[in-house]
């Protein structure tokens, strides 16, 4: 291709790339197209960006296909079979004199990779099915207690049908006298969850061997109950976060209108925010600068609700909105009706 033809071809090529990007799917032949383009048009930054995008996408597809192939049982059988051939002398003789070592190594690599993939698939499956999973970690600290053996617990969290980053709790066994007793070593649980309190309740430290007071029963550790209650707290916290996010979404249409400068009804809520660490309190702001506070308990039931106007407590609105003392979701519905009702 000569340079002039190159220049002419920019547009059709651009289009092709765009369509390629749109399709998202790609297979062998398209790869070659993309690569051919790279060699000719590296000078255009826009084009390069698109190409890089495509390449990244292709690489990802390749990875997905790789892992799918590797995890298929038939491929594994083939791999195992090729590694342990029953070498008849005949076949060995028939084989071309190829350095057998490298293919062997590649197959070994593939097999280990396939094994890793299998293990990973299993881990994913467990993570999908059970919301709490355990794993073993090795503490890299050379002075770690108990030889660095650490039990990891993984708490899955989901929001709107998506797995969020799980929370981790690592436990070790630091007590020399009672070898079974666990203690929280590290964790990634946010401070909104009362982990220390739960740990003190369900994983109490074993008493020193003071010996004499055998009348007091030794505190017993109950890992299962600890995990159960911790999981419940985490779920509650996330549900509360979800409720306030839902509230914000359902009522939040007006905040955009406010940003645009268009007029909004005075009963519309313009801001919904979380007011405390545990996300048990929601702060509401109306368009006419009234403020509200909504307090819920562990289970999402509304405990307190109040509205402040310009001159102190706004009893009228409070009364109007708290007729159905129930769950937060009900109150959210009431708020929506209230916002829509008066201005219509």
């Amino acid at each position: 291709m000569d340079p002039s033809a190159d220049e002419l071809q920019v547009n059709p090529l651009d289009e092709e790339i765009a369509s390629l990007k749109k399709q998202g799917k790609s297979s062998g032949p398209r790869v070659s197209i993309a690569l051919r383009i790279t060699s000719h048009h590296t000078h255009s930054p826009k084009l390069t960006a698109i190409l890089l995008n495509t390449v990244a996408h292709l690489r990802k597809t390749l990875k997905i296909e790789c892992s799918t192939i590797l995890s298929s049982p038939s491929i594994k059988d083939v791999l195992v079979a090729s590694l342990n051939p029953q070498p008849t002398p005949k076949s060995a003789a028939l084989r071309p004199r190829k350095p057998r070592k490298s293919t062997d190594r590649d197959e070994h690599l593939l097999l280990t990779r396939s094994k890793q993939q299998e293990a990973y698939n299993q881990q994913c499956l467990y993570r999908i099915c059970a919301s709490v999973t355990a794993f073993k970690v090795h503490d890299p600290d050379p002075n770690a207690v108990d030889g660095g053996h650490v039990l990891g617990l993984r708490f899955e969290v989901m929001t709107r049908g998506q797995f969020l980053q799980p929370y981790y709790v690592m436990l070790n066994r630091p007590y020399p006298n009672s070898s079974k007793a666990l203690r929280i070593h590290r964790h990634t649980v946010p401070p909104a969850i009362p982990l220390p309190g739960l740990a003190a309740r369900h994983l109490p430290a074993p008493k020193q061997q003071s010996g004499s007071d055998s009348s007091i029963p030794l505190p017993k550790q109950d890992l299962e109950r600890f995990v159960k209650s911790l999981r419940r707290e985490i779920m509650r916290y996330h549900n509360r976060l979800g409720v306030s996010a839902d509230l914000r979404r359902s009522l939040g249409a007006h905040s955009q209108a406010a940003a645009d400068g268009s007029s909004i009804p005075p009963n519309a809520i313009v801001d919904v925010s979380i007011a405390d660490t545990e996300a048990k309190q929601i702060r509401l702001t109306w368009a006419d600068e009234r403020n509200g506070r909504l307090v819920m308990d562990d289970d999402g039931k509304v405990v307190k609700f109040m509205v402040f106007g310009a001159e102190g407590r706004d009893w009228e609105t409070t009364k109007q909105l708290t007729e159905s003392q129930g769950r937060v979701e009900d109150v959210a519905k009431m708020l929506e009706e209230y916002a829509a009702g008066r201005d219509s």
Partner: protein, 506 residues
């Protein structure tokens, strides 16, 4: 201005003015840059704040008395003044001009306490490292039993409630804690890029809350009470049961004990202000002090990193987020390049031993530090003090350790004594709280010197990580506290671990 001044318990009002010739006022304005000064003046003239920052304007009725020598003739209206400062933003000039205009022109009758608080916060935003913050944990106390008046309440370690903070309620109850001969001014501020609420407490010793408080007439007449004032900052991180407190700063020369007593007053007053009926709290120091608010937010903040420092940070970082629905095998660290086409792989020249060990050192550093301790992460700790209480290692092991100490302290500086006291306090505290660890009788044949190690720098743990990557520190034999995974800046090491941090300090 009030004609009478009655001793009172109320707080200092925001509109109270400090004379603009006060050296402390001139000094605090002089610390700001020109841009900050102009935007500060503009924000003072803005609608909501003008009540606390009334400028000196030309009066209509005495128009004939215009002073021809006045360099900064007063403007006719706030709007005019506002436009003047907006124009100034476009022009070039020295910061001196703006400061002088504020002090001798538009606010010649003095700057209100509100304005001074804003000046200080602008300075804090321009110089975020100017304050040294100490993190405290808010812990719930057990409810007192019925008929014991002076019992010492224990920390309720089984409590499940998380302390909550409400700014205006907190201020009211904090004001109740303040003694009548001390007057305080409070100002809340929320910095733009950090999720904390800052509270500036300006304390002055005076029974009055009028202008008398700021200009007490002493023998010389002109000297102000301002020099005896103190400023303390509190920071309340969002969604975290911690609180950060700075050391108090004096405007004038002061005795050491004085500022300490104010610090104590606050440390005792804050938990009382946080408490409510049937819900009491206490503050517990967490051995973390840093100038960097971001570090504190990372280690004692609302996120996941509070008890997952060092290598454990991989569990807390968002980078490694992986949904179980995504079945692609995660690639091990440092293997990002190996995913390139295999043509590349075949061309790789086998590494020589130096390169291999360098790569290994990098991998080890990655394993020990995870995603923490990177120079550019902006979470630097500038000082770590560690006291070793382990028996001296045998000569064979000793030679490996010599290099790890960046600076072993010798008690020859003046500041050491103060630091030593803090260390001693920590030591005592650690010894007191030593209930779960059996105090095994020290082997008398082992030599146990007191070794204190101080690491200093912009980002201590990033420095250690670089040493590991360079192969100077053996990453595999390095003790865990050198990775910063305990999240403390002062600690006692016993059995190779920071004392009390067998776990996450829960």
């Amino acid at each position: 201005m009030a004609r009478f001044s009655v001793p009172t318990k109320a707080r200092l009002p925001s509109s109270l003015r400090v004379d603009s010739s006060n050296p402390a006022v001139i000094k605090s304005l002089g610390r700001l840059s020109r841009e900050a000064l102009i935007s500060l003046a503009i924000s003072w003239l803005d609608g909501d704040t003008i009540a606390n920052a009334v400028p000196y304007l030309e009066r209509r009725d005495d128009e004939d008395e215009v002073d021809p020598d006045d360099i900064y003739p007063p403007c006719g209206s706030v709007q005019e003044l506002y436009e003047l400062y907006v124009d100034m933003q476009q022009q070039k000039g020295s910061k001196r001009d703006v400061a002088n205009r504020i002090l001798e022109g538009d606010w010649r009758h003095g700057l209100s306490l509100y304005q001074l608080a804003m000046v200080d916060f602008y300075y804090l935003e321009e110089h975020p490292m100017s304050q040294k913050w100490t993190a405290y944990k808010i812990l719930p106390l057990k409810t007192p039993t019925k008929d014991a008046d002076d019992e010492i309440l224990q920390v309720d370690d089984k409590a499940l409630n998380v302390p909550r903070f409400h700014p205006s309620t907190f201020l009211q109850s904090l004001q109740d804690q303040v003694l009548p001969d001390i007057k305080a001014h409070y100002h809340f501020h929320r910095p733009k890029d950090l999720s904390v609420l800052l509270l500036r407490i300006f304390v002055i010793e005076s029974p009055y809350n009028s202008s008398l408080a700021l200009s007490s007439v002493t023998g010389s007449g002109s000297s102000t009470n301002f020099t005896s004032s103190r400023t303390v900052y509190l920071a309340f991180p969002d969604g975290s049961s911690h609180i950060y407190i700075t050391k108090s700063q004096a405007n004038g020369p002061s005795a050491m004990g004085e500022s300490k007593s104010l610090q104590n007053l606050i440390i005792h007053g804050v938990p009382k202000a946080l408490s409510r009926p049937r819900e009491r709290y206490t503050l517990k120091p967490t051995s973390l002090t840093s100038r960097n608010l971001e570090t504190l937010l990372d280690k004692r903040g609302p996120g996941r990193g509070n008890a997952a420092g060092g290598g454990w940070s991989i569990y807390a970082s968002e980078k490694n987020k992986k949904s179980p629905l995504d079945a692609i095998l995660p690639s091990p660290p440092l293997s990002r390049d190996s995913s390139l086409s295999d043509q590349n792989r075949k061309r790789v020249i086998p590494l020589n031993s130096d390169q291999r060990s360098a790569k290994r050192a990098k991998l080890v550093a990655q394993a020990r530090f995870g995603d923490s301790g990177l120079i550019a992460d902006g979470k630097g700790i500038e000082r770590v003090d560690v006291l070793l209480k382990d028996p001296f290692p045998t000569p064979a092991a000793a030679e490996n350790q010599g290099l790890e100490e960046e600076q072993a302290n010798a008690p020859n500086e003046a500041s050491v004594s103060a630091r030593r006291r803090t260390i001693d306090a920590v030591l005592r505290q650690a010894a007191d709280g030593d209930d779960e660890e059996s105090n095994e009788p020290g082997n008398p044949s082992q030599w146990q010197p007191t070794v204190q190690i101080t690491f200093q720098g912009n980002h201590v743990f990033a420095g250690i990580r670089q040493l590991v990557e360079a192969g100077i520190v053996d990453g595999e034999r390095m003790p865990g506290w050198m990775t910063g995974e305990d999240g403390v800046t002062i600690g006692v090491v016993k059995h190779g671990r920071i004392r009390g941090n067998k776990g996450s300090g829960l």
